[in-house]
Amino acid sequence: MRRALSCVLLTMAPALAGASPFWDIPVEKLRQAASAVDAAAYPKADAVIIFDRREVEVEDSGLSRTVRHTLTRVLSPAGARELASQILPYDPLSADVAVLRCRVLTWDGKVRDVSPGDVLDVPDHQWLIYWNSRHRLVPVGKLDPGDLVELVTRRVGFTYALLDDGSEGGESRFVPPMKGHFYDIVPLWADVPAIEQRYRVRIAAAKALQYQIYNAAAEVSDRREGDSRVVTVVVRDFVPLDREPGMAALSDVAPKLLLTTAADWNAKALWFHGVQEDAGSFEVTPEIRALAESVTRGLPTPESKVAALNHWVAENIRYIGLHMGEGEGYTLHPAAMTLADRGGVCKDKAGMLVALLRAVGLESYAAMTMAGERIEYLAADQFNHCVTVWRRGDGEAILLDPTWIPGVREMWSSREQQQEVLLGLPEGADLLTTPLSPPEAHPLEVSIRSRLDAAGDLEGTMTVRADGQSDAALRRIYRNRLRAEWRAVDESWLVQVAPDAELIRIDRPDPDDLSKPWAMTLSFRIPGYATRLDDGTLLLTPLSARHPVGVASRADELHLSTEPQTRRYPTRVGCTRLVTLAETLTLPPGSRVEGLPKEARLDGNGRFESTWTVKGDTLAVKETLALTTRIVEPEQWPSLRAALVAFRDLAEATLSVRLAARKEVSR
């Protein structure tokens, strides 16, 4: 195990400069700062951050060094356990982090130093992406409530490993590849309260630094010091957000600071394009050309070729991250490497597809996006995902995502609608937001034809049709289970609501075959489905209204919490969706139905319609629910909530079926 020896040199730097560093604060003053904070004001918190101060120096090259000084008070045993060690992650190819000071100011007036020499350098535990990421492990040691933990760290470099050729020594490998540029994404939120969060950056005035604070008020100073510009942002009295079920990502709603010297997204797009082309990521080798031709042989249109290649990459290139050394990060692996490995992460799958498309003469590029979080319109790098663009003959840019469409009958996953994307086009591009995918593109139709006998037994057939993301949700249940368990999946469509249901027959497609929308038909019998009451009537809720397929697939329309009447923050559902439940229930002859719910018709973000009618001996149920957006703004929530509540209420609505007297039947 490597020890963090570099910290010895780092701690010398300020001394050589002859000035006391900002973080060199006497213990008494630290205690004084902490004593000004009333711990009783945070009865639910396990710790409170007294201050979190960052000083950032940016060189002309764009290389940045951040010294961070934090003081945290432990408030509870859980807080003591949590802070007993601290993890400082870094990617060795693009960044480094060292501990300058760590000490514990104990509740009983003592001071315990944790030597920077005891800091451990440890590989991360990794999963699927084996990029050799590491962390410094600070062994703070056992703490007690009331203790103060002071930590000073120095970080140099960037979050991502970019286009360093590895030939330069020292810290040059930490210089960002977009030479001379600087950006930072500073979360100003935490799991515990923070009294003072301060960020100060010193940068050459000539670099046109832009910055913005989101979701918080702040004190700001922006001034010149010689040739430098010094920006200071202070956010005070942060308290952790009250989480709401299903809420949008914290980075969308919690305080944060973004800074960048990139002029705009167009500049970033141009850079991104150039990086990939220069690196030869999309080079078409003979093997790639042969594969592309083989996959597209006989296909008549560009669309059919694009579809075949996109699905081929989605299904046959495994999601796995191998580290290719220098250039990992924003550089897409050479497509030939991805093909040989038959594996890669999102960027490598995207690059593989670009190369295959180019191999058959189609114009294609890579693009960056941020799955699950919003990209703000300030050109700081806020990306976690990479996709592919096909530029059609008419110039239209079409997004393709081979990472998110395994088992999905889409070219681009609609789970990424209302999401920002930056196209790496040769002429550059502005940041775009992907459009809504209408609920009609993701239908789930459950149609039941059933018959209830006088004993209360129900039998019938249930047909389930789905497409888009609703199709994928059903297919995924099979594809994620062992084949030996598929029979249990077949039964799950009914037994989760009726454990004694007998599945007589099922016809369903091969889950791997995407050529047709999902369609399955189940024949079933449920003994004693209806309950007989004291007066002889039968009591039941129509099977369709109980949405058995939604129960088995843990559908959003059943599981998104409706507990909050109102919301402060946006809500995120998996995808827009159109659910149709229909049932034609043949009743025992001459029956009379009581308790039919009224027709419902709700409009808004959640659209819901229902009609339950009886004609002759037939009960007809028809319910339609549409989730119309993936991101639901707080003002849209009441409408969606009303629709969901109405939909779920019907799943509990009981009808009584009064059977005809014998003579009525014979008549």
């Binding site: 045993p77 060690s85 604070i213 191998l322 997004l399 937001t433 009451l533 004291d534 009591l539 009064r658």
Partner: protein
């Protein structure tokens, strides 16, 4: 706090301060000129899955060669055919080997893929990576452990992953070597071989209760082979047959070594001792015990998943553990036992089987606990005390371990001259006698009786009122407890008498009142069990012998009627029984619901028994009582 954060997004006045044409960036427009709707695109079938099982080991071989100096060379060789999307993309893309680089070396000798075309593709060098085992993440005392990740590349349906890995363990790792390898795997296995070669002079101990091996000698070496063919996949390691052998020690010697390691870990650190002394001032014995236990569970963060065996049964010195604020379960057990002794309670660390009835002795144990000598109530065999087993990692566990595990399931690392209670099935009994008022409000009594492994001893010692409130609220939402009396409380039995009041649900559109009984007598251990259809591929682990009886007596007010009783049902087979019965006596509804499960496991081929019981237990109709208040009582005669 004197100031509050404003939650309104701030357009940031600083931009104005900065001046100089820094316009406020705008959000991009929704539906900007990019197309994501690809309606009309075809969706070809591009994944050519191979029929058959998802994956199958054509061959799986583990050989262990023990030298006279104690060096152990373990070679694993496998050929695994992957057929499905699940196998290729999710289950078999990587192989993992955890090791301690201070005493072990892992070499990947072969990592290649044989394609259906006949081509063989060697994995690149960057397909082998060292990282940190998740179990010790954050724990500075064990941060030196590593996991070798071997990524398999060039995968496609029908391909065969060929892997050969050699793990060499130095003699200094331990004075004995324990071989412990599952015969089955997470995919079907065509041919299976586990082979041990060791100097006969070292002694090879084959504990009872594990997979039998062929035992022989070749010259001065003992050779043991375990063979298997056409083995079905097993998902849960605890359900696998194990090949087990110990070289260089027998049960007694291994136990002596582990006991000496506990002693060598040093005494209780002074600071911990002071905290224990403080906690030991609690006058009530039960509360004193819990207070001391909490000194350690609240002070230390635990690497919960770090199994004692996985860490080579090693233990960090206790003063280092205490100062670091981090412990493994074994270290926490050792420290806690030392703390209890300091507080005047006899205790030793102990090792416990993963489940009761597993193969006995040291070879069968999996987890670390604390064995405590506690004054006996009765049946202690004259020792005056009986043994309690406590998991220091999970003090919140409400029921006593020693009610499930016998002395044969545990190995004490030290001496406690105490008797063991006989484990008893978990039994719980609920008797509710409720009287409903005309407005739907009800009041009455609730009696709860527990015995054996169902006894919520810890929860009742901690907060009997909270336990009672939770039990009452399961009768009907909002039910309140008006009085609680704990009429019996010991480790193996407890009883509570509550008085409660609450209200039934309001009548629905049909004028019916729905009373759900399922929650009142819940058995959450059963909720996660699959409803196995015919042909379920593997054995299913069960929560063990349990018995639950619920009797509800509900007196209805004048004018109320029973619209329908919970549907009677019964199922009984070798695995257990479920029965629901209900009747009306005058104005009183009497419901009895029972469950008995007699086993820890359902074997392949017998899963229909489990299905029958679960279907009966989960049947919605058997859990619902419908009442008809007078306002809408039916007046028409019942249909024939």
């Amino acid at each position: 706090m004197t100031r509050r954060v404003l939650w309104v997004p701030v357009a940031f006045a600083a931009l104005a301060l900065a001046g100089g044409g820094l316009a406020q960036p705008q959000r991009p427009p929704l539906g900007a000129p990019v197309l994501t709707s690809t309606a009309g695109f075809p969706h070809p079938h591009t994944f050519a899955a191979v029929p058959g099982p998802d994956a199958r080991y054509l061959e799986l071989v583990d050989t262990f060669d023990v030298s006279a100096d104690g060096t152990v060379v373990h070679e694993r060789a496998s050929r695994l055919q992957i057929n499905s999307f699940l196998a290729m993309h999710r289950r078999h893309g990587e192989s993992f080997f955890e090791y301690d680089p201070t005493v072990e070396q892992v070499e990947v000798i072969v990592n290649r893929t044989a394609l259906p075309s006949g081509d063989v593709v060697e994995a690149p060098a960057n397909a082998v990576v060292d990282d940190l085992p998740a179990a010790v993440q954050g724990n500075p005392n064990w941060a030196h452990l590593r996991r070798k990740v071997v990524v398999h590349t060039a995968l496609e349906p029908g391909a065969i992953i060929e892997l050969r890995v050699r793990i060499t363990r130095q003699p200094k790792a331990a004075p004995f070597f324990e071989l412990r390898v599952p015969l089955a795997a997470d995919a079907e296995v065509g041919e299976r071989l586990v082979e041990l070669r060791a100097p006969t002079a070292s002694g090879v101990w084959l504990p009872n209760g594990f997979a039998p091996g062929e035992h022989g000698t070749e010259g001065d070496r003992t050779v043991v082979r375990w063979r298997g063919a056409s083995l079905p996949l097993v998902s849960h390691p605890s359900a696998m047959d194990l090949a087990v052998a110990v070289v260089g020690a027998d049960e007694t010697a291994v136990r002596a070594l582990l006991t000496s390691r506990m002693a060598a870990a040093g005494p209780l650190p002074d600071q911990a001792g002071r905290k224990v002394t403080e906690a030991a001032r609690e006058p009530d014995a039960e509360r004193r015990l819990r207070a001391i236990l909490k000194v350690f569970s609240e002070s230390l963060r635990t690497s919960r998943a770090a199994s004692p065996r996985g860490l080579g049964w090693r233990i960090t010195p206790l003063d280092v553990v205490w100062r670091s604020g981090w412990a493994t379960p074994l270290e926490l057990a050792a420290l806690t036992a030392a703390g209890l002794r300091h507080g005047g309670i006899e205790a030793v660390p102990a090792l416990l089987a993963a489940k009761p009835g597993a193969p006995r002795g040291l070879a069968g144990v999996e987890r670390a606990v604390v064995a405590v000598a506690w004054p006996a109530v009765a049946g202690d065999g004259g020792t005056g005390c009986e043994i309690r087993l406590i998991d220091p990692v999970d003090l919140g566990s409400p029921t006593p371990l020693e009610a499930r595990f016998s002395d044969a399931d545990a190995v004490l690392l030290g001496d406690l001259a105490c008797g063991w209670r006989q484990p008893l099935p978990a039994r719980q009994e609920l008797k509710a006698v409720l009287a409903v008022q005309p407005d739907g409000a009800f009041s009455g009594s609730l009696g709860l009786v527990f015995s054996g492994a169902a006894t919520p001893h810890g929860a009742l010692v901690e907060d009997a009122s909270a336990f009672a409130s939770a039990a009452a609220s399961r009768l009907a939402k909002g039910t309140k407890v008006t009085s609680v009396a704990v009429t019996r409380l010991d480790r193996g039995a407890a009883a509570l008498a509550l008085t409660v009041n609450g209200a039934l649900a309001k009548p629905d559109r049909l004028g019916l009142v729905r009373v759900e009984l399922g929650a009142a007598v819940q058995q959450p251990q059963l909720d996660h069990l699959p409803l196995p259809p015919d042909g379920w591929p593997e054995a299913i682990e069960l929560p063990g012998p349990i018995e639950s009886v619920a009797e509800l007596s509900i007196e209805l007010p004048e004018g109320w009627a029973v619209a329908t009783l919970p549907r009677a049902c019964s199922a009984e087979n070798l695995l257990g029984a479920v029965a629901v019965a209900a009747r009306v006596d005058g104005r009183t509804v009497r419901i009895r619901r029972t469950l008995r499960l007699s086993s820890w496991r359902v074997e392949v081929g017998e899963t229909s028994n489990l299905r029958a019981l679960l279907v009966a237990w989960r049947s919605p109709a058997s859990q619902l009582l419908w009442l008809r208040p007078p306002a809408v009582r039916a007046t028409e005669p019942a249909a024939p």
